[in-house]
């Protein structure tokens, strides 16, 4: 069977995932609710994952897709830790607004 990329073209995948990535970045930059920030980060990571898959098809080898599994696992672990921290913050602070975290400065 012939490669989907012959039809669509790898560039588009790249542009798409770059776009996604940037959306993630901006989300991280401009949202103050920790949960949403997490999600934005997830978007970034998934944008990359998407690209991985695209590339792996492009190169016709599986490594890329394997890597995606790695990264997903890692991301999950990360988020788990992140949420844990968030919980304790919520206990102490009663809010999950990252803008309130300004005790350490100077």
């Amino acid at each position: 069977m012939n490669n989907i990329l012959d039809i669509v073209g790898i560039e588009n995948y790249i542009f798409l995932s770059v776009l996604l990535f940037c959306i993630g970045v901006f989300g991280v930059l401009y949202r103050r609710n920790a949960i949403i920030v997490f999600m934005s980060i997830e978007i970034m990571l998934n944008a990359v994952n998407l690209l991985f898959v695209a590339f792996s098809t492009y190169h016709q080898d599986a490594e890329g897709q394997v890597f995606v599994f790695f990264s997903m696992a890692v991301a999950a672990a990360e988020v788990a830790v992140g949420l844990a921290i968030l919980v304790s913050i919520f206990r102490n602070l009663g809010s999950i607004d990252i803008a309130n975290l300004k005790n350490l400065k100077g």
Binding site: I14, V48, A77, N103, L104
Partner: protein, 459 residues
């Protein structure tokens, strides 16, 4: 490779120890285990830089990785030794902390011995996640939480960037295997996103070593985290990141392009200057050392300007820096143990109440400031010579000026210890602080007097 396996095994053992109620014995056992592993690692010099067949294209355990791994192990030993006293109040969790540290070490070793980008990614994530946890490990302390959160957010952001970088490289070359990529990178005709990928990865690492302008997290996180975690970050984590960055660049590319060297030069100078200048007016010691760490990162970046032969110098600098840092943190942890903050005032009159620790701290600060016979001096000197050879005199001049500035704040601490009157009388000091402080500073001086001990490990 044995090292990595052994470390992971040790980590697992620690977890089991929790189950079997071996908490008391945990610390000593772990230390012994690590010493054994150190032995194994050092033993590897008989087999010189050979890729381990069994894990083809995943792990390469050559002199570079062996050298740095041993440094990491030593540092971890110190940290674990300290944790015995630090965590004696919550014995229940001690095994967790130790386990995390051990796994963190595993991640670190993985980072300096990867031969495949996936390995590198996993390593760095193990390290980071462990650090997030440790940073936030004081659950009830808001500062600690904040530190953890900040570190987590920015860290995972950086991970995203790194991942993107890896992805682009993979896209450009079709390989995760370092050797393959290197081979390809020599030939022309790689798509534009290959250099972008490299750049993004480097930026990610620059974040990890807290180089300007990616340094903002460092002071806050250092200040907020528990002292022992700060110690870990400023010694182990920084060194790991630096080593990895070097390995990445030397592994993936045929030397840096001129433009990229310019960037390194700028970042290096900026880091030195910003770090030192900012440190001048800090009251909190941990924060001060965070900034000093930033400036040291700037120094270490010099090594990247002569990629081909700076490995030994880098190892030397990092060990000098890390040992001095470890010594100073041993003292800092002791002094600030029962304090609510780590301000310099707490060090007043230490010269009288506890001359030995004061001497240790003084020595370590002098080493960081780069005063002779302490290894810090030779480290700086080697960097300078190498950078002059690479014809980046301007960086050297900046470095010199910065070392002058740095004396300013290092000596604030010394002055406090020797000229101010003590606020409280001497309290009992657990032996371990003396042990860690003295041993590490002695090691520092020894490699100062015989740099070849370290420099000969690599090259």
């Amino acid at each position: 490779m044995q090292t990595l396996i052994a470390i992971s095994a040790l980590g697992v053992f620690c977890l089991l120890a929790e189950i079997f109620n071996l908490r008391k014995a945990l610390v000593p056992v772990t230390i012994v285990g690590l010493l054994a592993i150190l032995g194994i690692t050092l033993n590897l010099w008989s087999i010189d830089s050979s890729i381990d067949e069994q894990y083809k294209s995943m792990i390469v355990f050559d002199k570079f990785s062996a050298g740095f791994s041993s440094l990491f192990i030593i540092l971890t030993i110190f940290l674990i030794a300290l944790s015995h006293d630090v965590y004696k109040d919550h014995q229940t969790k001690i095994s967790d902390f130790i386990t995390i540290k051990v796994f963190l070490l595993a991640g670190a070793v993985a980072m300096v011995s990867f031969s495949n980008l996936s390995m590198f990614f996993i390593g760095i994530e193990i390290l980071s996640i462990a650090l997030y946890i440790l940073a936030a490990s004081k659950r009830l302390d808001l500062k600690s939480n904040e530190a953890g959160m900040k570190y987590f957010l920015m860290g995972s952001f950086a991970s995203g960037i790194i991942l993107f970088g890896i992805c682009l490289i993979y896209g450009a070359t079709g390989y995760f295997d370092v050797a393959e990529i290197y081979a390809l990178s020599q030939g022309a005709g790689l798509p534009i996103w290959f250099p972008i990928g490299i750049t993004l990865m480097i930026i990610g690492m620059l974040f990890k070593i807290a180089a300007v302008p990616f340094h903002f997290w460092a002071p806050d996180v250092y200040e907020g985290s528990p002292a022992i975690t700060t110690a870990l970050m400023s010694t182990l984590a920084k060194v790991v990141a630096m080593a990895t960055l070097y390995k990445l660049l030397s592994g993936l590319t045929v030397g840096l392009t001129y433009n990229f060297e310019i960037i390194i030069v700028i970042v290096s100078i900026a880091s030195m200057t910003v770090g030192n200048i900012m440190a001048l007016r800090q009251k909190n010691v941990k924060r001060m050392l965070a900034f000093s760490g930033i400036s040291h990162a700037g120094f270490m970046l010099m090594a990247l300007l002569s990629l081909t032969n700076a490995a030994s110098t880098l190892l030397y600098y990092t060990s000098a820096y890390a040992l001095a840092g470890m010594a100073s943190f041993a003292v800092i942890i002791y002094v600030t143990k029962n304090k609510d903050n780590e301000d310099i005032i707490n060090f007043n009159g230490l010269g009288k109440t506890n001359p030995l620790l004061a001497a240790v701290l003084t020595a370590s600060l002098l080493s960081m400031a780069g005063i002779p016979i302490f290894s810090g001096f030779f480290a700086k000197f080697m960097l300078f010579t190498q950078t002059i050879k690479a014809e980046y005199l301007v960086v050297v001049i900046a470095g010199v000026i910065n070392s002058i500035i740095s004396v300013g704040y290092y000596f604030k601490l010394i002055l406090a210890m020797y000229t101010k009157e003590a606020t409280e009388e001497k309290q009992a000091t657990p032996f371990v602080y003396y042990a860690v402080g003295v041993i590490s500073i002695v090691l520092n001086i020894i490699i100062g007097l015989y740099p070849s001990l370290v420099t000969n490990l690599i090259n």
